[in-house]
Symmetry: C2
Subunit: 192 residues, 2 copies
């Protein structure tokens, strides 16, 4: 029983990393089995729906894990600009330590499958939406007028996602750092 759970968790974690660094199409069942040391039969026992079912579970798990890291960094300061800098610093650290393989856990698969695989696209859209809501919750504590909060939250997520893309493309965390600094200036102060 315990071994079964471990196998399942290992498959999910391995697939999450592969989806993040190289995407959905490049990640074949054979590579997942090799990288996680899982026998084929065991894989189909846990994921009878095959690669698509495993990918959904892996995206869920890695988005949830990343959200926990983001929340921890964001809670380090009451000031939204400073919280955002702390989040970007945490993301830059993950990026550099993984040799620019690990950016956003959803983005690579999102761009590949957005127009093609509905079951995958819906998981991704749900998590992106929840991240926008998370940022909007913090913006509520600032002096920003309510009508502008949703747009600012979308700008913040967009800018961070784009900066992760550029940082991976340049193999340099500088875009992430520049974006954190520019956003911190544009963001209204938190109410006391």
């Amino acid at each position: 029983m315990k071994k079964g759970i471990e196998t399942r968790e290992r498959l999910i974690a391995t697939t999450g990393r592969l989806l993040q660094s190289q995407g959905y199409a490049a990640t074949g069942i054979n590579e997942i089995l090799d990288a996680s040391g899982t026998p084929r039969g065991s894989f189909y026992f846990h994921f009878p729906g095959g690669k698509e079912e495993l990918a959904r579970a892996a995206l869920e798990a890695s988005a949830t894990e990343r959200r926990a890291i983001i929340e921890r960094a964001a809670n380090s300061s009451k000031d939204l600009g400073k919280a955002l800098s702390a989040v970007c610093e945490a993301l830059a650290q993950i990026l550099v330590e993984s040799d620019f393989q690990l950016g956003c856990p959803l983005a690579t698969t999102a761009l590949e499958t957005a127009a093609q695989v509905d079951a995958i696209q819906s998981v991704i859209a749900e998590h992106y939406y929840s991240w926008i809501k998370l940022i909007e919750g913090r913006i509520q504590q600032t002096e920003m007028p309510p009508a502008e909060r949703a747009a600012l939250a979308t700008l913040v997520l967009s800018a961070v996602e784009g900066a992760l893309l550029l940082s991976r493309s340049f193999r340099d965390p500088k875009p992430l750092k520049q974006v954190a600094a520019s956003l911190a200036k544009a963001i209204p102060k938190t109410r006391d």
Copy 2:
């Protein structure tokens, strides 16, 4: 001779679209040959380096084509905020008309190959860098202090790239429109 050039152009255009909508790993030689109606021998005559060489040429071509569209939209107004709105509108139109298949011509391949295929990553990095410089050139005409121009240009490109990612993921151009509106407010006025 003319037919040879047409075959080459058709291979490049087909591959550019496939890379944009589904990425590098999902785009196999067979699909490219089928979609462009090209015989295999003809493909290897034009691209002896195979898929990697064709992908580089396709990314070059689609990035150059997209730059022309962006410049045309950006030149529609002297005011940077308005120019940016026009660019985002042009991008939203391409997105919606392609049923959310065509976002950024480079991003899908960038995320898949950034850490893996050096020859592809270098073409992508070069174009992203040239787009940042293009935006920086426009910011020079505003009252923004020189020291802050590069960071703002990086923020603008990051936000637009991230908004394209979210718009594709949500299958809705709203993030792109929200980001254009938010950036227009944050951007300094152009000098008269």
